[in-house]
Structures are given as C-alpha cells and as structure tokens.
C-alpha cells in the first residue's frame, strides 16, 4: 500500500456537521406529539391543533387521498428503515412562538448559539424564523424589512392572514405529483411565507432555520415565496439536528414564484445529522425576465433526495443552480437540478460538485427539458465528482430532452480522483499532505463556494478544514 493510501482519510477529511456541534442531547423539553397510522382523523387532528380554516383541512385530505393512490418510487434506495407508521407527524416543542431570544428557554437558545444562528441574525440577517420540530418558536424581523412592506411570517399564520394568496400558490408550483410530495401536502407543518411587493429589493438575506430535536420525527415544513414584479430577495434555508438515537424523516417543500423582472436567490445549507432521511421538493416558476438562483450546500443526512428545479415560463427567464454535495460513511446523496424551458430565450446553468468519501455514494440526477416553442433556449450543465478513496462510489443520470430545434444544450461531467501528480507538486511547495488535500478540495468547490454568503461559505470551508486544523489551516 502506498503512503498515500496508508493515510487514514477518516483522520484527514472530517466535516463540521451540526450533529458534532450539538452532540447527542435532544433539544427541547416536554413535547406534544401526534402519531399513529396516517388517516383522515390524524390529518383532522393536525388541522384542528393549528386552528386551520376548513379549506386547508380539505386540501390536506385531498393530498392524503392522492398519497394513498400513488405508489412508492422503486428506484429509491437507503430508506429501508423508514416506517411511516412509527413516526410522529406533528411535534409541538412546547414553546410558544416569541419575538426575542431572551424569551426562549436557555437550552434551546444555546443550541442556536452553537450553530451560529443567533450571531448571524444579529449581524447580517433582515429576518429570521427559527423552527423547532413542527412549530416556529422565534420570529425576528428588522424594521427595514417591515417598512418595505415585505411579509415574512410562519406559514400557519399566513394561512389566516393571506388566505387568497396561499390558496393561489400553495402546492400549485409543486403539485402532489409523486407520493412524498402528496404526503407533504397532507402533513405539512411549519415553514415560512414570504411576500415581496412589486419594486421592492431586499439586498440583505432573510433566513428560516429548521431544527429536528428528537428521533422518529416526521418534519414537513413548507416554504412559500412570492416575489412580485421587479423585486428581489435572498432567502437562506438552514437545517440541523443533534445526533439521534434513531432516524427522523424530513419531507419538506419549497415553492417559489418569481414574477416578471424579479430575482430570487435561494440558498440552502443542509446540515442534518447522519440519522436523518431527507427528501426536499423544491421548485420555482419564473416569469418573463425573472431569475431564480439555487445554491445548495449539502453536508449532512443519511440519505438525501433533492433536485432544485424551475419552470422557465416567461420569455427571457433564467435559472442558475449551484450544488455542493458531500457523501461519506455509506451515506447516499441523490441530488441534481431540473429545469423546464417553456418561454423563448430562456437560459439555465447547472453546476454540481460532489465529493464522495469513506464509502459515500453521490448521485447526480438531472433533467433539462426544452418544450416546443422555447425558441433559442440555452442550457448548460456541468456535474463533477471527486472520489477520495476506493470505497466511495458515484453515478450520474442526466436526462436531456429537446422538442425545440433552435435550442442549444450542453452537458458535461467528470469523475476524478485526487491526482498524485498534483499532490506531489503541492507537497514539493512545502505543504503537508493534509494541507494539500484541503487546498485541492477547496479549489474543486470554489465555483459554488463563491456563490454562498460569506457565513455559509465559511461553514463549508470550516467543514473541510476541521481536521486539517490539527496540522495547520490553509488559506
């Protein structure tokens, strides 16, 4: 075995996952849970607890019917232990929603402090919705946000305050087209509603942060964003969980409506613990001259299936998607991006960077679909994977389907190992092997890292550097 192979990668590459920060302690105290077989009664009970209007209860029931009719996709892997009958579908953390950190129990605040959320909220966010289990526990909004007329609310509250808008958009951008989307529609709880009025530009981000506090939870938060004409918004989604005794299941949904000339950036830092099975349904509809940018850093979870997608409905609409994925210790990360070009002169660009290590499996699964009439559409996809050892595996399943003769589509992908030559060069310049590895990986993901807000980029960079710091930080 060469010296390089002899190096224990486990001691070299380690990521700062939230579970390492939060440890094994469950978050929150006495909780009220709704569990049992998924049935109309269970749906009604969730709806009753939330004091929902009857239309929402009926909608939930309709999605339950669809869920029961649809079959489970056969190609999913790594979800063998998922038993829907043993999950809690609604977990009330027993903490009323507050508007300041001081009003929240100290042990919970401590968790958010450890994760850097409290500091981030104070220093660079315009708004924060912190959710524990199934309910929002803290809502912080700065005056600047409210002055501009932006609505930033937990979705439950928006159901009462803005019923027309919710009825128009909720599960219309991502209809229940597969079993787990339908399940989400039936059981959704928590999440955020954001409305940005016409001509309002929000340069400072707002964030929703989701914490799963205990094992065997089903987490179904829903984020709905409407960016009206000529507006802009940067939304950050963060998620984390402590190390759990058993699995938990996250089946979230993000729906974004990007109006004419509007611009939305949606950044996710997925940092679930390695017991979480993570499904996330994300889709945007983009109108004329609108732009959606998905940025995703996928660090945690046992299994992840997520494909940020967009329907480019209006002429000149565009999508960019940048994804960094880490899979390690036998975890499966099935991700990618999907785009449907419908308007003329629409543009899309998908960049995916995956790293498989210690037996991890990364899968890129993407769709580029150009519909008839999407004249002069252009799409470019690049998906690269770095394999750090011979136990790790990867696969790419791009699907390019074109009905439009004037479209131009490009796709390229590469799977690579860390080159011995490059490593040798860096070592000859005075770096030790770990520093060299860290530098190569940082360079590999730099395209996407540069798209992240500084704080998020720092988390991912810190992740790579964590173990390297024992030997000397790079950069």
């Amino acid at each position: 075995m060469s010296k390089r192979e002899d190096t224990d990668l486990k001691n070299i590459i380690g990521l700062t996952t939230a579970e390492e920060i939060l440890g094994e302690r469950e978050i929150g105290g006495d909780k009220l849970v709704i569990k049992g077989r998924i049935s109309p009664d269970l749906i009604d009970e969730i709806s009753r607890r939330k004091k929902e209007p009857d239309w929402m209860r009926r909608m939930r029931r309709m999605y339950l019917e669809i869920f029961n009719k649809l079959s489970t996709p056969q190609w999913l892997e790594g979800i063998e232990e998922l038993d829907l009958d043993e999950l809690s579908y609604y977990v009330d953390p027993g903490v009323e929603r507050r508007f300041s950190w001081e009003e929240i129990p100290k042990d919970i605040v401590e968790a958010y402090e450890k994760l850097g959320i409290k500091k981030a909220e104070a220093e660079f966010l315009l708004g924060l919705n912190a959710q524990l289990d199934s309910e929002s526990i803290l809502l912080r909004t700065k005056e600047n946000l409210l002055k501009k007329g932006v609505v930033f609310l937990p979705l439950e509250e928006a159901v009462h305050k803005y019923p027309d808008m919710i009825r128009e958009y909720f599960m219309k951008i991502f209809p229940p087209e597969h079993k787990f989307a339908a399940l989400h529609g039936a059981l959704w709880s928590g999440g955020v509603f954001v409305y940005v009025p016409p001509n309002v530009k929000i340069d400072t981000p707002v964030e929703a942060f989701f914490l799963i506090g205990s094992a065997l939870e089903g987490n179904f938060e829903h984020t709905l964003i409407i960016a009206d004409k000529n507006s802009s918004l940067h939304f950050i989604e963060g998620c984390a969980a402590p190390r759990l005794s058993r699995y938990s299941f996250h089946d979230g949904m993000v729906e974004i409506y990007v109006g004419e000339n509007a611009h939305v950036t949606f950044t996710t830092l997925q940092n679930w613990s390695s017991q979480v099975i993570n499904f996330n349904n994300k889709r945007a509809i983009v109108e004329r001259n609108g732009h959606i940018e998905w940025v995703e850093g996928s660090i945690g979870s046992k299994v992840t299936y997520v494909y940020p997608s967009a329907v480019l409905r209006g002429d000149n609409a565009s999508m960019e998607s940048y994804v960094i994925t880490f899979a390690r210790d036998g975890h499966i990360k099935d991700s990618g991006s999907k785009v449907i070009h419908r308007g003329r002169n629409t543009r899309s660009r998908i960049v995916s960077k995956s790293i498989s290590m210690r037996g991890g499996k990364t899968i890129y699964r993407g769709v580029v679909r150009i519909l008839k009439g999407a004249e002069n559409a252009k799409s470019y996809t690049s998906c690269d994977t770095l394999l750090l050892d011979d136990k790790s595996i990867t696969a790419t399943y791009p699907h390019v389907q074109n009905d439009e003769p004037t479209a131009i589509i490009g796709h390229e992908a590469r799977v690579s190992k860390i080159s011995d030559q490059l490593l040798f060069y860096l070592r000859s310049r005075g770096l030790n092997e770990n520093e060299a590895l860290s530098m190569i990986i940082s360079g590999y993901i730099s395209d996407v890292l540069s798209r992240l807000p500084f704080e998020q980029a720092a988390i991912i960079r810190g992740a790579i550097d964590l173990e390297f710091s024992k030997y000397g930080r790079v950069g």
Binding site: Q74, W75, K338, S356, R365, V367, R369, K372, T385, L387, L388, D389, D390, K391, S392, I393, T394, A395, T396, Y397, P398, H399, V400, Q401, N402, D403, E404, P405, T406, A407, I408, I409, G410, H411, E412, A413, R414, V415, S416, K417
Partner: protein
C-alpha cells in the same frame, strides 16, 4: 429441457405467463419521457408457428444478391451461405425446435432474461438461429445480410458469433427493414482472449424491429462497433458490451437518423468488470420532421474495474418542427480507483444564418439542411473503420441528409 436451465426451472408455459406480466420497459430514471419507444406497436405482432414454414417476405428478392452481395443471407427462418471465400468460418443453422431443446448451449447467455418483455418474446418466439465460429484471422469483410419478415407476425432471429483466441475479424451486418411484421434480431458475440473485432451494423427500421447485440469480451480482447440506424416506425437497437477480461476494450460509434413520424431508440451500454478495461461510447443523432430520436449512453465501472477508463458522449441535432431528441449519457462508478469517468451531452441547432443564406440562393429547405449537415456527418464517418466507411457512405448517400 434447455429452456428450463436458462430460466431457473420455469417451463415454457410459465415463461409465457411471465412474459405477459413483465413490462416492456422498467423506467427508473426518466421523469419526463415515459417510454423510450412506442411499445404498443410491438403488441400488434403475435408469433405464429405456422409462419415458420412460409417464405418470408423479402423486399425485391430478385436483385437482392447483387445489391447487397453478402456472404451469408439470413432471411426469415432460412439461411444461405453464398460465398466460399470465408473458409476460416464455420456456420451452422438451427431451427426453432433444436434451439429450444438446447442443441446450441451458447445461445441466450443473456444476463437478465427478465429485463424486458421483448427478451422473453424473442426467446419464446424464436424462429431459427445461426452459430458462426470464426477460427482464423481474415482481412476480408464478412458480410451478413439479415432480412425478411412474416406478415402481421413475429420473426425472431438469433446469431451467436464466436471469435477465437487472438483472431482478428471484420464483420458487416446489414439488417433490412421488416415490412408489416415485427422482427427481433439478437446477436451474441463472444470474443475470446486477445481477439479483435471490427463490426459494422447498418439497420433499417421498417414496421417494428427490436435488435440487441450482446458482446462478451475476454482478457485483452477489443471491439470497434460502428452503427447506423435509419428510421423505422418503432426501431430499437440496444448494444451491451461486457468487458469481463482485464485490458478488454470497446470503442463504439453510432449514428441515428429519423424523419417523418419515425421513432428510434438507440442504447449503447458498457459494463466494465475488470482491471484496465476501457470503454468509449460516442453517439450522434439527427431528428427531422415529427420524428423521435432517443439516444441513451451508459457506462458502469464495477468494483473490480480498477484503473478503468470510460467516456460517454451523446450529441444530437434537432431539425424538425415537432421532432424530439433525447440525450441521456449515464455513468455509474462503483470503483473508487478509476482512471477516467466522463460523459457529455449536447444538442444544438444548425447555423440559422447560414441556412437563411443558402435558401436565399435558391436552395429549398431540405437541400440547405443537407449542405449544413455535411460536416456533422463527415465528423462521424471519419471515425469509422476504413473498410466500413465506403459502405456507410453509400447508405448515407441514399438517405435524406445527403
């Protein structure tokens, strides 16, 4: 009975029952395109034992021998060996009954009989088969013409080709279009250690055809496989390369052309099973009018495929008003120690300004497109084996793009 050993002790009747239940296509990963081809067309043609004793329908049989000038004519359930220049080969013919009884045990060395209903249909409806043993190297091109069809029925033809140790051979298949019938042609190639094969495969669509080539490559063997597919109502060609031996390699280059309401489904898939194996898949396609052209490239580098190299490159031009082109270059890497794994896909349009110019000079749209496609076709042809280039050029010259 042979079929029992093939199918884990299932009888013919059991298999018939299974065949009805197995889908034509198991979709795992195609969220937008439901079916790779129009499978309902294949349902029209039901096998009848009586057809085996009839003369097959062969288009313009009179001038066929002159037109194609092949060494082996495999028409319907009959075979004729016209040329004796290929003394280095042995050809044996097997009728349906003998195949089902297991007279040739090499037949149906297929990894998954239950992958698609079409595989079972081919096996259960088998009309006849050829066993070709290539014993010595030869520079001459071995031409095999496959044709014929049974009206409203299913003609199932099967060829097993053994290429012995260190033998170098060149083979050209000309697979004619079935008319008013369905034809399935399965070719199984076994390349023994250090064998080298250059294979050309020219396929004409017709009413319904489902063709598969299975190539098993032993240590040090290599194959260069060149394909052209011309249209068809429902034309499927799936080439599967199993790189079992170390240092075995495949270089595949395919070109598909569809127009009017034709539907082509072409898949090129390589399974790299051993150390130092190499696979290069290169697919090109043109879709015109209302046609559909589905191109799927796939390379799987399994756990033992250390230091292996694989690339999949799928590229197409969509010319039609309502034509559809799908490019799906898939790759799976199960070994962390591969030297190369890459894929690319692109689809683009012709230079519209150039087209406008040509049309303004008096050319009609079809002719303008032909001129603009010339480089694209030449790019494909120039990578084809020299002996095959001439044949391919002739066929392309008669197609709508030349």
């Amino acid at each position: 009975m042979f079929i029992r050993s093939l199918s884990k002790n299932l009888s013919l009747e059991d298999l018939r029952g299974l065949e009805r239940r197995i889908p034509y296509q198991k979709i795992h990963d195609s969220p937008t395109l439901k079916f790779y081809t129009n499978w309902s067309i294949y349902d029209r043609y039901i096998f009848s034992e009586d057809d085996l004793y009839k003369d097959p329908y062969v288009k313009s049989l009179g001038d066929l021998y002159e037109r194609v000038a092949a060494d082996i004519y495999y028409l319907g359930s009959k075979v004729e060996i016209l040329s004796n220049k290929n003394s280095h080969i042995d050809v044996r013919y097997y009728p349906r009954k003998e195949i089902l009884e297991g007279s040739v045990r090499e037949f149906f060395n297929i990894p998954d009989l239950f992958e698609s209903k079409m595989i079972l249909r081919h096996l259960l409806d088998i009309s006849s088969g050829l066993y070709i043993d290539i014993k010595d190297s030869s520079k001459d091109l071995l031409k095999i013409y496959v044709g014929g069809s049974f009206k409203n029925s299913h003609l199932s033809q099967h060829i097993y080709i053994r290429i012995r140790d260190s033998v170098k051979s060149k083979i050209l298949f000309i697979v004619d279009a079935p008319e008013d019938g369905m034809r399935t042609l399965f070719n199984e190639f076994n390349l023994e250690n250090n064998a080298e094969a250059t294979i050309g495969f020219v396929m004409f669509g017709g009413s319904a055809s489902y063709n598969r080539n299975y190539l098993s490559l032993d240590k040090g063997s290599s194959v260069r496989f060149f394909t052209i597919i011309f249209g068809g109502e429902a034309s499927t060609l799936i080439n599967s390369y199993y790189l079992n031996g170390e240092r075995s390699s495949v270089f595949s280059r395919s070109f598909t052309l569809s127009r009017e309401d034709e539907w082509i489904h072409n898949a090129e898939q390589a399974f790299l099973e051993n150390i130092d194996t190499e696979s290069r898949i290169f697919m090109r396609g043109v879709a015109y009018d209302d046609s559909k052209n589905i191109m799927r490239g796939y390379a799987k580098q399994n756990r033992d495929a250390r230091r292996s190299k694989a690339s999949v490159d799928v590229q197409g031009i969509n010319l039609g008003g309502r034509s559809l082109l799908v490019a799906a270059p898939f790759i799976e890497v199960l070994s962390g120690d591969v030297d190369e794994a890459s894929h690319s896909a692109s689809q683009y349009t012709l230079d519209l300004d150039a087209e406008f110019y040509l049309r303004s000079r008096g050319l009609d749209k079809d002719n303008a497109i032909k001129i603009l496609l010339k480089d694209y076709v030449e790019d494909y042809i120039s990578g084809v084996d020299e002996d095959l280039q001439k044949v391919f050029r002739e066929y392309l010259a008669n197609s709508f793009i030349s």
